[in-house]
Amino acid sequence: MSKVKIQGNASGTGVVTLTAPNTNTDRTITLPDGDISLGVGIDDNATSTAITIDASENVGIGVTPSAFNASYTGINIGKTGTLIAETAGNDGLYIGSNAYYSTGNNYKYIMDGKACELKMDASASHFKFRTASSGTAGNAITFTDRLEITDDGRGLSQFTAKAWVNFNGTGTVAIRDSHNCSSITDHSTGNWTVVYTNAIGANNCVNGYCKASAYLCQIDQPTTANTANVRAIHNDGTVMDVDYVSIIVFGD
């Protein structure tokens, strides 16, 4: 049979109050005024510390918290996991693996090995996926941005399309759908320029398809940062208007 035990303390003056409910949902337990001390941590058993809160209010789950930068609040999860957010500002939330933002205003390795991080920045409204090569515990990390998802829905990386468009080049040009494309200029028969909404690296890779194998989709070279010039050329050498033109662009 389970039991409930209430035990007073001869030296203390605080009062723990258990109040009976005055409604069907109201339940109150009143604890003594002031901070509640949990000692060195919350124990899940008699021999180990499950959660540690340090003097800077950083938290370690299963570990002692790293020496986080004073402007940030951090949580260590297990050996290498970290969650970091600016304490007062809106610099965002960082989810790290083997990385913490240190008192030296830089990232440091928690243990020997590689590191990576996902940065969610509310002020810029973007995600950044970053990686770092292998390093030594306690040394500074140099992250490389691998993928950024911007607030207007673009994915900036070496492996995501910087722009694409599908349009009908007959009659008045009609854009069926597009991404990072602000306009298409119809220059003459079978000759168009796709203009990117946001400029990209000039040395980009543009690929195109014009309706059928009888048509070659020619892209002017060298490519430029703002536009792609496209021609639809029939296999007899004549430039033709075609109703399906698809262009996709990769690059920096």
């Binding site: 007959t170 009659g171 306009s183 200029t185 028969t189 909404t197 400029a199 208007d241």
Partner: protein
Amino acid sequence: MKIIYAQENGILAQMIPAPKFLAQLTGTDIDGNAIYPTEESKLIHLANKDLPTGTPYEITDEDLSDRTFRNAWRYTAGDTERTSDDLSLDDQLKYNHISQEEFDNASV
């Protein structure tokens, strides 16, 4: 609506806006007024963005779908001709036409 202008070779060019680009031209200024209250205002912004600065152009909704003699079309200035302007520094940065460093230097 679309933008028409003269190319260097004399042939008329038609600039067709991407619907998604026009759709994202929203927002209000500090007085609460729409920055782009009309389709025409959006096309003026597009002309400033996608045409070389100083290019004479017109905004028209005329049906130009009959492409007979397309390569012989010529642009003639009308009463509503405009000239493309520079984008603001904020927009140049937004569209990645200048770097943050160039923006900061130009803003000083």
